[in-house]
Assembly symmetry: C2
Homo-oligomer: 196 residues x 2
């Protein structure tokens, strides 16, 4: 991986080819989801030979994950509204919105795919851990503000919030209802309140 990165830097043409292949892959994902992405189609768009793609990435699966990695580094933002309830609502709203797009759905499907290739499994897990750790900052901020107890597990709170969203989309193949983000944030914050 490190060697590949070095090679990329010293070789301008190689970097351009990589960029072009990754962009073509993401373009196809955006347009039609995972099934749209074939190595032949990516090669044709990027203006390279299929064999170059296989030589560099090894498989369609690894190419897809590499494209997703590229994307993940780009767009991680952490809300900081001053209220944990509000931050959780923002996170859930953004996630629901993203997963309702072809690209967002494809990313979630790819990252949850039961991969045969252990290298791919490792990359999937690493991306999830990064994302969870990033989102968990809203809980850490709340602990620092004194809004949540010191012993709150930030990662666990984020998992409670995001797991049901992935469950609905990936496992139940359901549309996400518009009030789900607020409902989730409320459930995570308040639990089951005793009846008045």
């Amino acid at each position: 991986m490190t060697e590949a990165k070095v090679r990329r830097r010293v070789n301008g043409r190689s970097a351009r080819v990589r960029r072009s292949v990754i962009e073509s892959t993401l373009g196809l994902l955006r347009e039609g989801g995972i099934d749209q992405v074939t190595v032949a189609e990516v090669a044709s768009r990027a203006g390279v030979h299929e064999t170059s793609i296989y030589r560099r990435w090894g498989s369609r699966e690894r190419l897809l994950i590499d494209a997703i990695l590229d994307l993940s580094e780009a767009n991680l933002s952490v809300p900081d509204s001053g209220s944990l309830r509000e931050d959780l609502t923002i996170l859930a709203t953004e996630l629901c919105g993203y997963m309702s797009t072809p690209l967002g759905l494809a990313v979630a499907q790819l990252l949850s795919w039961p991969a045969k290739d252990p290298a791919v499994t490792e990359m999937q897990t690493e991306i999830w851990r990064d994302r969870i750790a990033s989102a968990a900052k809203v809980v850490e901020q709340a602990i620092d503000r004194g809004e949540a107890p010191r012993n709150t597990d930030p990662r666990f709170i984020i998992e409670l919030l995001v797991a049901p969203i992935h469950w609905r989309v990936l496992v139940l193949n359901e549309q996400l209802e518009p009030d789900l983000p607020a409902k989730l944030a409320q459930a995570v914050m308040d639990g089951v309140q005793p009846p008045r």
Copy 2:
């Protein structure tokens, strides 16, 4: 499906063959998980020809789902301890225990598999809905007892409880820690308590 059931009843040999193929499939799942199940191996154990299996089930994927369906009908129990917190802990404990066995893991993987076959997708969704509706009875009981507000959404509470368990196992490929069931039940019941 109905026609197949009728045929099964009037034809003793056919029923025995089905039973034997399903049992062989479940046996292989118990021993080594999904990868262990090949149509050739199932046929050999059940003492039938591979072609008979393909004729009846059409594909390995459908055979696997049919075996799971058979199993699902058998073991759905609903706790009724008189306390929602306790019932949720029992449900989560049972699920975590089951998903830590080769069979339980295989069932969860199969039911979450991104199937290409729309008939399989439909069967997966149906099994999940049945399971959620069954577990949701503990919340309905709590509403009836006056322990949870009338406007509590039973299905949503169950999803909050079980989605993170599936997420940990299927997406993050993690071991489930022993205190997870109690931690989940507490989080679902109490939310994020303000610091004292």
